[in-house]
Symmetry: C2
Subunit: 574 residues, 2 copies
């Protein structure tokens, strides 16, 4: 070992030796928490790059110009850059940059690292190791590392390169490959701020696959199209070629899409070769397997962040959820457990949120597609509600889908999309999912009400009631985006509303009978017919279906979420 | 009984006879739900006024002009007025207005009502009775019913009268008596929209008594003063006199406050003489006692809304909480139970929210003062956090106070005040309070994170950690608004921040040592001294206290919520 290493934490002769590999959210939380609880520990964090502790979730907002520079994502709320000196001085944690972890020996409990600048190889012994090596952007196209026109959206460098292209006018059009969180945020950043022409390509038939069910994704599709993003769904990209003055993206279909630049946002894969080669257990995609104490298959090795898998509390299955929220929580937990506190990680519901232009998108738990894939018998209800009192000026609509287990009406998941505040309902639902609640529990939520914040009855109250109506009373919604198949469709809206979204059906006659006049018309209708009731948001049509059921009509359904949902998803290319 | 009554529901000869007294939220929900589940029931709702089903929580926003007219508060989201015809035609529920319930005979199961227009007395027999008689404004001053200058804020008529005065220039100044929800909202309505000079008088030493603890109320005081509302606290009003061209409000102290008008917002009392005289059990204030099925002491009489008391889930005590959210939920529940479903009401946490100018104020559970009054040994932590990622442009600060039971760190209550989104955290906390969660559960919340919606670590995560730091590690905050008593105060902010809020103490020397330099100064300080650490939001000062504790300093505390909280409460007249 060279002299230069015989100082700092390595030079000390006493205290638990804790080595953390990866100086991002999870790693730094673990190290700083451990330092607070273990003043005598020898704690060393290493990272291959000097640009450490980046709040990478903010990168699309740097590209958009909402945030001045990538440096801002490395700053504390009190405007101090989180660099090596910061961690040393503020947190008492030594970080060494430019060191690449090369080999892990679990028997000897040592890490071999290479100093990238000098090529020098060093050995670091540890008592406890924390792997927070993160993830890297998936790159099936082998993008040249210095490309100015083809980038991922993973590092501040990616953003600097793209932003330079936009600022100098070299990029006026872009192809975004991948319709996940980053892809959608990136499409917005290019379009909303820079007015660039954006083509968004997703191999699956919908954006945000795995995050949203298809009819919920249709709301996002509609928004993207309204914002003039060209949406190419269900098409796989075969190759990207960098030309003299642009890029050419080749689709499986043979179609070529040309643009000034391409962003590859196909998701991330865990960086775990280092640990896996040493024998740590991992999922097939490389995500390390940890227990509820965040310990890997070796008891002295902890892991957290984008390099691990987690157990979903609703299914018991291991899933890969590279989310900043988990990285932070689990990092801190490792600090606790290094200090011997033996804290367990809490149940994971898979909550996430993403802003796509004017739409707020949130979800927690399972989508219906996910639940069905796991063999869970489940049903859904939909609803369209205001986020504030409906008469309050700044009120906005939100479309909801609630998924529940059919057998016991236990809650499985919530998806919420709209211009209103969506994360509130998502977070409340997540806390219920963590506690195995059912639909009836929603009716009992004691939420804070005032007209500027909510209706007197909240969306979750209504959705809980809709589940009970469906399962106890057989009043079932049909999905908001589905063919209007019935023998008769009755639109129970007021005449004044009809213009806002016409009802269209190629198969069934459509009657317009406002709810207030429906009672007097019942005797004109045939009890044997399949009748579909529609209204603006799904409330009146439910009442109409209930009324008809009470009058002996057996085959009545209503349009969940209403024509408002259908209208907002009307551009859907499903 | 006159012929005219022998039609409608009363004319029917079959079906359960359900009589509902009071056609507001609770009553109409009960009646409409019962109708949906009991198509054959004879359901009659009576009310003394013709202006039924008013969303009265919106009245301050009508006065402010945010909402055009009081009629808008009676409209559905699809713009239909909720009058008698609406309930008849849309809901199948008969409402008779202008009928005053005069006598209840529980043995005979009959109600005697008086037709206000004709003076005629009628008898209505019932099988089930629902009392949703609401509440009336407290009026110790016997305000003349036709006064143009002294009004409550309880009915659309109150608002019409006041708004007319504002529009015609007769009201340019107002005294608002009572600093509760309505008082605060009314102060805003007069001032923000109309530029009226507002004096807000509250008999208690703080606004929102019973809702907020004193240091939290201090944030609201500061906002009210910033908005040029004259705040008179701890002063009782003895009388109000209407003069030729104004009003004169006489305080206990002898001071007279003159203005063009006065609004009396002293709270409400339940309208239950009718039921209490018949022998139904009630609290001393008249609020009816109901069980978890919303049944009064007579099994065939249900009650809900502003005329009942509820059991607080954290204390088991009966409390009077006249909230629109409860009225709606409990009304629907009565409908279920009338139909024989035997549903129980959910646990009540006492969640509420109110907008006071630019501040959003939310709370759930118990305040510290309430918990202490009940003999619960409890502690608090405070925190100041952003509602979005701290680098996101539209991020706003929120100040929090979390109250917990000392013995087991179980959660007791949350108060949140700031320009950011507060109701989200309140609603999540309420769902936890309903389930007897503790501080460690907060650390495990799986919240949805994206920079436009939250930080990667949410306020509730931080607050949970602060409780554990206090109780497990003895790292205690002092209240953000309290004298800075210590032998030494160390301000660990950066030099660049010091201007934003100077630290002032008459007793202790103040050292300015940024957190990043603190480690190197430890040896200069005396381990025996009481040291108070301060920073902007309470995070760095906690870290400093932890560091000093680790170095053997026993008497260290930090300023909860930080100087930011203190600054925002700096006008406090506590």
């Amino acid at each position: 070992m060279a002299d230069s290493e015989l100082n700092g934490e390595l030079g000390k002769t006493k205290g638990t030796r804790i080595v953390v590999i990866g100086a991002s959210a999870a790693g730094m939380r673990a190290a700083c928490r451990a330092r607070r609880l273990m003043p005598d520990a020898r704690i060393l964090v290493i990272d291959s790059t000097a640009e450490i502790s980046v709040g990478a979730c903010g990168l699309p907002y740097v590209l958009a110009g909402d945030i001045d520079s990538g440096e801002d994502l490395r700053k504390t709320s009190y405007d101090v850059l989180r660099d090596q000196a910061f961690f040393e001085n503020f947190k008492g944690v030594e970080v060494r940059c430019g060191l690449c972890a090369d080999r892990l020996d679990l028997d000897e409990k040592l890490v071999e690292v290479i100093d990238i600048a000098s090529g020098e190889r060093m050995r670091i012994d540890f008592d406890k190791l924390v792997l927070t090596t993160g993830a890297k952007a998936m790159d099936p196209f082998n993008i040249p590392v210095d490309s100015k026109r083809i980038r991922a959206m993973k590092t501040p460098r990616d953003v600097r390169t793209l932003k330079h292209g936009l600022e100098t006018g070299q990029i006026e059009s872009v192809v975004v490959i991948g319709g996940g969180f980053i892809g959608c945020e990136t499409a917005e950043a290019f379009s909303a701020m820079w007015g660039a022409r954006v083509t968004l390509i997703e191999a699956m038939p919908q954006v945000l696959p795995g995050v949203l069910d298809e009819e919920m994704a249709a709301l996002v599709h509609s928004q993207l199209k309204e914002q003039e993003v060209e949406l190419v769904l269900g098409k796989k990209v075969m190759s990207i070629e960098e030309m003299d003055r642009g890029v050419e993206v080749m689709l499986e279909s043979g179609r070529k899409v040309k643009a000034d630049a391409a962003v590859c946002a196909l998701g991330v894969v865990p960086c775990t070769e280092f640990g896996v080669e040493a024998g740590l257990n991992a999922l097939p995609n490389g995500a390390l397997i940890v227990d509820e104490y965040m310990q890997t298959s070796h008891p002295d090795v902890y892991a957290a962040g984008d390099c691990i898998s987690v157990v979903h509390c609703l299914t018991g299955e291991r899933v890969y959820l590279p989310l900043g929220s988990l990285a932070n929580r689990h990092g801190r937990l490792i600090g606790d457990n290094l200090a011997g506190r033996r804290r367990k990680a809490g149940p994971i519901t898979g909550s996430s949120a993403v802003k796509v232009f004017d739409l707020n998108v949130g979800r927690t738990g399972l989508t219906k597609a996910q639940a069905e894939m796991l063999g869970i018998e489940c049903n859904s209800v939909w609803g369209t509600f205001n986020d504030k009192a409906h008469y309050y000026p700044e009120t906005r609509e939100i479309h909801f889908k609630l998924v529940y287990r059919t057998s016991d009406m236990s809650l499985l998941g919530l998806q919420a999309i709209g211009q209103g505040e969506v994360v509130r309902e998502v977070d409340v639902m997540s806390s219920l999912l963590q506690r195995a609640a059912n639909a009836a529990d929603l009716l009992d939520l004691d939420t804070a009400y005032a007209p500027p914040y909510s209706g007197a009855v909240s969306a979750l109250h209504f959705l809980g009631a809709a589940v009970l109506n469906a399962e106890q009373d057989g009043l079932r919604p049909i999905p908001p985006v589905s063919p209007l198949n019935a023998e008769k469709i009755i639109d129970v809206r007021e005449p004044s509303e009809a213009g806002s979204h016409p009802v269209e059906s190629s198969t069934a006659p459509i009657l317009s009978i406002p709810l207030g006049k429906l009672r007097s018309k019942i005797s004109d209708l045939n009890k044997e017919e399949n009748i579909l009731f529609v209204c603006a948001r799904g409330t009146r049509s439910y009442e109409a279906a209930r009324m008809f059921k009470n009058y002996g009509f057996e085959h009545v359904v209503y349009l969940g979420g209403g024509l408002s949902f259908r209208r907002d998803a009307s551009f859907a290319s499903l």
